[in-house]
């Protein structure tokens, strides 16, 4: 019980300090400067950009991800310390959005890394971003933002999907199936 109480307090305080990785993965990064600066000022909520993934808690996938970026995103995500959270930003992270038929962008981010929260829109307004952060804080407080636990638990599946995407081939699927058969 005491451990639970401690966790609650820890979450309650930690949600007030979310550091995000300074990584512009797509065009949604364009709305990040306004959110950081005088108009919207997200530092009010203790959210600050950080230079390296080691220091950060939140990974913002700002828009579409090409396969080449996905490799870096996975690396960045794995470098981050637990607990860590992912926000999918814009329609392109949900189903591909504008780029639904592009050969180089992934269509569904949650197949490759666990996503705690999506923001819809192309591109989402700063207000939507702020709202997402507030929602994420709420989720952290309630203990619902458990993407990082999922990543540990279903690591094999995420890795398999990532490998497929990196090689632009589905061949990996067969390997897994064979393994299952055994």
């Amino acid at each position: 019980m005491r451990n639970d109480d401690w966790k609650k307090v820890s979450r309650l305080v930690s949600k007030k300090s979310l550091w995000m990785v300074h990584f512009c993965t797509g065009c949604g990064a364009m709305e990040m400067p306004p959110v950081m600066t005088s108009r919207y000022d997200m530092e009010r909520f203790g959210i600050a950009p950080m230079a390296t993934p080691r220091q950060a808690d939140v990974l913002l996938i700002t828009g579409y991800l090409s396969i080449k970026t996905l490799k870096r995103v996975v690396q960045v995500y794995e470098q981050m310390r637990d607990p860590k959270y992912v926000i999918g930003f814009g329609s392109c992270t949900i189903n591909g959005g504008m780029y639904w038929d592009s050969y180089n962008t992934i269509k569904d981010l949650s197949k490759y890394i666990p996503v705690d929260l999506y923001i819809a829109g192309c591109m989402p307004r700063p207000e939507a971003i702020m709202d997402a952060f507030l929602k994420l804080m709420e989720m952290i407080e309630k203990g619902e933002a458990i993407g990082w636990k999922k990543y540990h638990k279903y690591y094999d599946q995420y890795k398999r999907n990532q490998r497929m995407a990196f090689s632009y081939r589905l061949d990996e699927v067969q390997d897994i199936k064979e393994d299952d058969a055994k």
């Binding site: 930690s14 300090s17 230079a51 310390r81």
Partner: protein, 320 residues
Amino acid sequence: MVDLIALGEQILLLAGMVTLGFAIGMFFNGFARKVTARIHNRIGPPIYQGYIDVFKLFAKKTNISHGWIFDLAALFSVAGITLAFLFLPVAGFTLLSTEGDIFLILYLLAIPALGFALGAGASGNPNAAVGIMRALILMLAYELPLVMVVVAMMIHYNTTSLATLVQMQSGMHWAIFVPVFFIGAIIVDMALQGMLMEKPFDIAIAPHEIASGPMVEFGGKHLGALMLYKMMAIVVETTLFVDLFLGGGVVLSVSQYGWIAYVVNFLVWFALITLVFFLALLINAVFPRFRIEQALKFYWKYDALAALLILIWVFAGVSI
């Protein structure tokens, strides 16, 4: 028995002071961000943000280490800066400062930086290596004018102990009111800007150039320890300045006013270090950063030259 109780009191006092130091340091983190935000036309984080950040970093679940040197480095930094704090006279509390002199403090200030360097070196990241090289060069740069002014003051006041220096300045005979040391204060303030790693001298952690330099591989609890070090360093370095030039914040004599003097002195000290830090923040907000060789040139050419003149002035004044 009596000795034991006195020792216990002493230890309690020290522990209390260290806790207070860290608390003030964390407050300064929030304060700095708030002031900077106001200059940026923003509201800024709550003033207690520093406490939250440190708490969060220590609550992080995983810790990725790069070997025992890496682990030790953060501890090294915090321990070094804490020791430096203990050897400083703080608002009339002498703590351990009667034991050591000012050179000990300057040595102790170098220890955390070296610990920092060890840790960054152990992380094996080239950005960290470049950052640490810059940090060490910068340290070399600002220490020259700093030491020269300090030596000048020692000659003038004829003491090497910071506690004695503070005592001699009591009754508002602050060193900054002596014309020559007013210039000295400006010189040391410039050096302080480098010590605090504020612009134009935040060369070692330049995020746009080397992605926050030495801290690049630190995260979680390691980063938390590092932040504690940086926060404490603000307190130590500003206190050093206040002790040197502003009488350590001692305005009331303890023998005359008793415990009220402690409270008042403490408040004055706090106000003074906040003021010194505030000045540094203002300078920080309006300047870009130098390149490392420009910083070296600035310190050695202008700052050190002025410090040398002061040294000669004081030396001549004493010997004549």
